[in-house]
């Protein structure tokens, strides 16, 4: 059996047995919703309704209801798309990359982080469809024979790569998530009291029985899926960045984009995981499983990726000067000192300065401070995309085309509404799905829980 040093902080607090884990994780699913859940759900659904109204108005009237113009043809739509896709990356990092690195602390948080990934990618996809203006022709980027001639899609175009990357990422994430859920649905199925919940969870659990062969295959499938998802998640944001990097717009045409976008994605994703889990652990009484140690570990990743992002910002600036390309130099000086200086400096403050506070272990282990900093990072990463997209576009090569961009209430509605969509999905998930991967977490009860550590301490003395 796996042995672990007693010096390592326990991953499960309290002297939990396997059955305690089952009870604690199934409780939210089996009990009635509390007041806080109902309030949060009402607010989220209100946001969702606003989203429906704004999207319907856009599609019914046309893209003219947005604040876009001839010079700034992409703004909040793509900002929000990239922001949501980036947030999704943390879930895959936790479930795939940390699995390959055998980080056991992932086990308490992987399920909810993967759920966050899926809902975030759904939100991102809605922006792709709505920014087309005519979503009924949304099949055009697919490699289909069409009635307009023998033209096929252009596979040299990064926008076509993106269609493949995002759809592969979304479908593989769902499969990865669902495979892990099957044994946990079986636990709820076996405990179900009413006829209907029994029937529903029997269907959801696919008739799972944990025979030795099933578990052997299950573990192999998880491992190979993790191996496939790791390069996949790195490729997705690289491809997203190439939507910009392969263009010739000054400020976009930079080779640093793929690694810089991936680091930024993980950075923003972990911030969102913190925002969500700090609430979830409190509301669902999971503080023994999602411990201060987990919060600390995630804050360390935020610190590392935040520093990478900071270095990338400075490198970009240096290379703009060093390249000697006047257009590139102007784009960067305009970012920092032009009319959108406030967006640039919001980005710099939120993304470069605030995460550096995490060098202090007091702040890393402080839940309230973590929550506040995670909100700052979420805001900062939104501004990063806004700065990249809008400030690079709004001053064209032709001076007469120079213009400013400001969003209308419709764009604001779609953005805030998408947060409502995200939270509606997440709150429903927290009520009907097991939010912690029980069957996986049970494997570390004997090695990494507080109870096990006490026991082995006792036998040593």
């Amino acid at each position: 059996m796996h042995k672990e040093s007693e010096l390592r902080p326990p991953l499960i607090l309290g002297e939990k047995t396997w059955h305690d884990i089952t009870e604690d994780v199934c409780r939210p699913v089996e009990s009635k919703a509390n007041k806080w859940w109902k309030i949060a759900f009402t607010v989220a659904v209100a946001g969702l309704l606003w989203w429906i109204i704004s999207v319907s108005y856009t599609l019914g009237t046309g893209l003219g209801v947005w604040g876009l113009n001839k010079t700034v043809g992409w703004a909040w739509d793509i900002t929000n798309f990239v922001w949501w896709v980036g947030i999704g990356h943390a879930g895959t990092l936790i479930s795939a990359i940390l699995l390959l690195f055998r980080q056991k602390w992932r086990l308490s948080i992987n399920r909810s982080a993967e759920a966050m990934t899926i809902f975030a990618v759904i939100c991102a996809a809605t922006f792709i469809l709505s920014h087309m203006g005519r979503p009924w022709v949304g099949y055009w980027p697919l490699p289909l024979a069409n009635q307009f001639g023998s033209l096929w899609v252009n596979f040299n175009s990064p926008l076509v790569w993106d269609v493949f990357a995002i759809s592969t990422y979304f479908s593989v994430s769902i499969v990865f998530w669902y495979t892990g859920l099957i044994p946990d649905f079986a636990v709820i199925r076996d405990r179900a009291k009413t006829k209907w919940s029994k029937r529903i969870y029997t269907i959801l659990s696919f008739g799972w029985v944990g025979t030795a062969k099933n578990w052997q295959r299950f573990e192999e499938v998880s491992l190979v899926l993790a191996g496939l998802s790791t390069p996949l998640v790195l490729s997705v944001h690289s491809v997203v960045s190439m939507d910009f990097a392969t263009s010739i717009v000054p400020g976009w045409h930079t080779t640093i984009f793929p690694p810089y976008f991936v680091a930024g994605a993980i950075f923003s994703g972990f911030a969102m995981v913190q925002t969500l889990l700090i609430i979830v652990r409190k509301v669902l009484n999971l503080e023994d499983y999602i411990t201060i140690y987990h919060v600390d570990m995630m804050n360390r990743i935020i610190l590392i990726t935040g520093s990478i992002v900071g270095v990338a910002y400075l490198t970009e600036f240096f290379i703009a000067w060093y390249s000697g390309v006047e257009y590139e130099q102007y784009a960067f000086i305009n970012r920092a000192t032009g009319p959108y200086w406030w967006a640039y400096w919001s980005m710099m403050t939120c993304n470069v300065i605030t995460p550096q506070l995490f060098w202090s272990s007091k702040l890393r282990e402080n839940v309230f401070a973590t929550f506040i900093i995670s909100i700052f990072v979420n805001i900062g990463m939104w501004f990063e995309r806004f700065v990249i997209i809008v400030t690079s576009l709004h001053r064209d090569y032709v001076t007469s085309s120079w213009t400013m961009y400001s969003p209308t209430w419709v764009e604001a509605g779609i953005f805030i509404g998408s947060i409502g969509l995200f939270f509606t999905c997440f709150l429903l998930f927290a009520r009907v799905f097991p939010v912690i991967a029980m069957s996986e977490l049970k494997t570390i009860v004997k090695s990494s829980s507080e109870g096990a550590k006490k026991k082995s301490n006792h036998s040593n003395h």
Binding site: V187, R191, L204, V224, S235
Partner: protein, 175 residues
């Protein structure tokens, strides 16, 4: 032998190490231990039971190679063979020249086919599908109990099997 002819009795355990150790003990006493149903994967259980290594990762590799070939074939046919386009002075005239631009889609297609193919194979092969009725031997076998399936004959002395299984650490016996 059909399933109807097989008869199983079950030892219920409440500890993973005990159940793994019991396999060897009971087998040496002449019992046919066929399977262990557990609430979570137990490291080394497949080895102890003598299960062959799963070949599902080989399947994944084959599916992945299929996805890779299909993607390259598709892009070759559409952009090089059927209708080469000249966009921005960068013509698509030769496959090898376009290959760098084809890598992202090739990679995504490889992952897509490998992941989905493997999971579908897993579900079909293990007969885990929506609508399948599970055979539940113990109400807490997905929670914290371990079920050992032992194959017996019609004329086996069940009382003796029960005493052996209980001596090996089982908390309950079901026939």
């Amino acid at each position: 032998m059909s399933a109807a002819e097989k008869k199983f009795v079950y030892g219920i355990f409440n500890d993973d190490e005990v159940v793994v150790n019991a396999i060897g003990t009971l087998r040496s006493q002449g019992l046919k231990v066929k399977d262990v149903i557990s609430p979570f994967p137990i490291h080394g259980l497949d080895h102890e039971l003598g299960l062959a290594r799963t070949r599902i990762s080989i399947c994944a590799f084959i599916y992945g190679m299929t996805g890779l070939s299909l993607a390259l074939l598709m892009m070759y046919y559409m952009n090089i063979f059927d209708w080469p386009m000249d966009i921005g002075g960068k013509p698509s005239f030769a496959f090898y020249k376009n290959l760098p631009a084809f890598i992202p889609v090739t990679f995504e297609s490889t992952v897509l086919c490998a992941a989905h193919g493997m999971v579908i194979t897993f579900l079909l092969r293990s007969k885990i599908l929506p609508g399948v009725e599970p055979h539940i031997i113990h109400p807490r076998m997905a929670d914290d109990h371990f079920v050992m399936a032992i194959q017996v004959k019609e004329d086996t002395d069940l009382a003796k099997v029960e005493s052996l299984v209980k001596a090996a650490g089982a908390v309950e016996f079901k026939s």
